[in-house]
C-alpha cells in the first residue's frame, strides 16, 4: 500500500494485495512475519460451526486468541510442538470476492471468501468460509485488528481439528 494516510485513501486494490500477501505468508509458514501484520489488540476468532454469529464471551469458539495466545500458537507451530503439524501440513489458500463494507477515518471493515486446501497424510481437506476483518491504517501500512474466520462447514468432519492459522 503506497503511503495511504487515511482509510479513505485505501483502494480495493490495496486491500486485495494486502490479503494476498497475508495468504502467502501463512502458506509459506512465515508466521513471525505474519504476526507483524496484526495490531497488539488483535482478536483472532473462529466461531463454532453451529453458531457462526455468536460472541466469544458467551458462546463456544473453535479459536478465540488474543496476541498472547497467538504468539504462543505460532511458536508452537514453528517449533514443531503441534503434533499434526510436525511434519508440517501443506496449505494453499484462495482468497476472493473481496469487498470493503465500511470505513472510518482510520479503519476499514472488509470481507472476503476463502478456501484453504490442506494436505496431510496424503489426504486433502478443504476449509472454506468467509473472512470478516477490521483493518487499521497505521504508519507501517495496513494491520489487522479483528480477524474473524467463519467456516461454512457444518462440522469438522472429516477435518478433525483446526491446527493451522485459518
Amino acid at each position: 500500500m503506497a503511503n495511504a494516510k487515511t482509510a479513505g485513501e485505501v483502494t480495493q486494490h490495496d486491500v486485495e494485495q494486502f490479503l494476498y500477501e497475508e495468504a502467502a505468508l501463512l502458506d509459506g509458514w512465515k508466521l513471525n512475519e505474519w504476526l507483524g501484520l496484526l495490531t497488539e489488540d488483535i482478536e483472532y476468532v473462529v466461531p463454532a460451526t453451529n453458531l457462526p454469529g455468536g460472541s466469544p464471551a458467551t458462546a463456544l469458539y473453535i479459536v478465540a486468541d488474543d496476541m498472547v495466545r497467538l504468539r504462543s500458537r505460532t511458536t508452537q507451530l514453528l517449533e514443531g510442538q503441534v503434533l499434526v503439524e510436525n511434519p508440517r501440513s501443506r496449505t494453499r489458500r484462495l482468497v476472493s470476492n473481496v469487498r470493503i463494507l465500511g470505513r472510518t477515518d482510520t479503519t476499514l471493515e472488509i470481507t472476503a471468501n476463502f478456501a484453504v486446501y490442506r494436505a496431510k497424510h496424503e489426504q486433502v481437506h478443504v476449509f472454506m468460509g468467509r473472512y470478516d476483518h477490521e483493518l487499521v491504517v497505521t504508519d507501517g501500512g495496513l494491520k489487522i485488528r479483528r480477524r474473524t474466520c467463519t467456516l461454512d462447514l457444518e462440522a469438522l468432519r472429516p477435518h478433525s481439528a483446526m491446527t493451522f492459522i485459518l
Partner: protein, 428 residues
Amino acid sequence: MLDGLVRDDVEGGQFRVHRRVFVDQPIYDVERDRVFNHSWLYVGHVSEVANPGAYQIRKVANRNVILVRGEDRQVRVLLNQCTHRGTLLCREQRGETKFFRCPYHAWTFDVSGKLTAVPDEDSYGEGWDKGGFNLKEVPRTENYRGFVFVSFDREIAPFADSLQGAREYLDLVCDQQPEDGWEVLPGTHKYSIPANWKLLVENFVDNYHFAILHNRYLQYMRSIGVSVGPQGARSGISRSASLGNGHGACEHQQLASLGRLAGHWGGMLPEWTKEPLAEIRKKLEERVGVERAYRIAQTNRNLRIFPTFYLFDHISPVIRVMNPVGVDCTEVQEWVLGPKGESPEMRALRMRNYNLQVGPGGFVSPDDIEVLALTQEGLKNPELEWLDDSRGMKLGRTLSNDEQQVRGLHRHWHELMTLGRVTHPVNV
C-alpha cells in the same frame, strides 16, 4: 474369535489387549449390537430443551433421534423417522415447534410424537389404527439430575443402578450447582477422529500421556507465568478408578491448583475472581460440607460413563460424547456447562478458558486427535499383536496416571462381547 482378545494376568501383573479389538470389522459389527444396544447412551441435557416444543436432533448409536420437550413438559427421546415410509422427519438441528411434518406425504406429529394429521385420512378406511402410527420412542429414557440417557435394551438395569461407582463422580459435578443449576452453553464442537472408538475411550480418562503429549499446553502456562504442580504421586489427590460396568475416572490436582470456577482461585485466573470464587466456595460448603466442597473445588476429574459419555471437570465442566460410525472412524461432539445466572464476566472467563484447552482448535485436544489417528494407522501392522495396559498393576497402585481405568474398560467390554463367557476380576 472373541474369547481370547484380552489377556488378564493378575498374578503376573500384566494386562494385554489384542490389536484386532481396534481394527477388525467383524468385531465392530458384533459391538454394534452387544455393546451399543445394551448400554446407557447420553442424548442431551434438559436445559437444551427448556421450553415446551423445544427440540434437538441427535445421533445415538447411529440412530437418528429427537430430544424434545412436550406440551406436558415431559422430556422424550423419539426416533426421528416418519412411521409411514420411514423417512427422516426433522432436519433442523434444533428449534422450537408445535409439530413435526414429514416432507414426503405430510404426515404430521405433535411434539409428544402423536400422529395428528394425515392428508386424505379417509382413504385408510373405517377403524384404521391411527394411534399405532405415533412416533416410536426409544425403549428406555432416564433423566439423571438433568442428564438424559437412553437405552435400546428394554430390560437394562435402571440408569442410576448401572452407574455403580460412576454415580459418585457424576454427583461431584452435579453437586457444584443447586438442582437445575447447570445449563448447556451456546455452541457445540462437532468433529471426527479417524480412530476406533475404544482408542478414544482409553485416551479420554488417561492421565499418563498428559505431561508428554500436551507439553505445549504446559509450556504455554509457564510462558504466562503460571507454574504447574507435580504429576502422579507427588500431586496430592491422584487416583484412577475402575468404577464397574466399564465406567472409569481419574482425579488429580496438578492443574486444579491453577484455579477452578467451582470455587478455587489459582494463578490461571485473574485477581478480580478471588472474591466471587470465595463466595461460590462458601455457598458450596454450606450446601455440601467443607470436606466435599474441597474435593469438588480443588480436584480436576475425568469421568467415563461407558461407553460414550465423558465429563471433563477441569476449570469448567465439559461434556464430550462419541458416536462410532465405522471401525476406524468416530464422531465426537462437545458442550460446555455453566451455572444459570452467572455474571457476564465469569461467563466470558469460562468460555475463554474452554476455548484454550479442550476443543478442536485448543492447545490440548488436537494432539489427542492426531495421536489416536497415528495409533489407528500403526495398528494396521499385523505383527505387533498385543498392546499393553499394565501400568500400576503389579504394584497394586492406582494413581491418576496408572492404567487401572483402561483395564476396567476392556474387562467390561470383553464380558459384553462374549455374552459373559469370559469374566474378569474387578479393580485390579
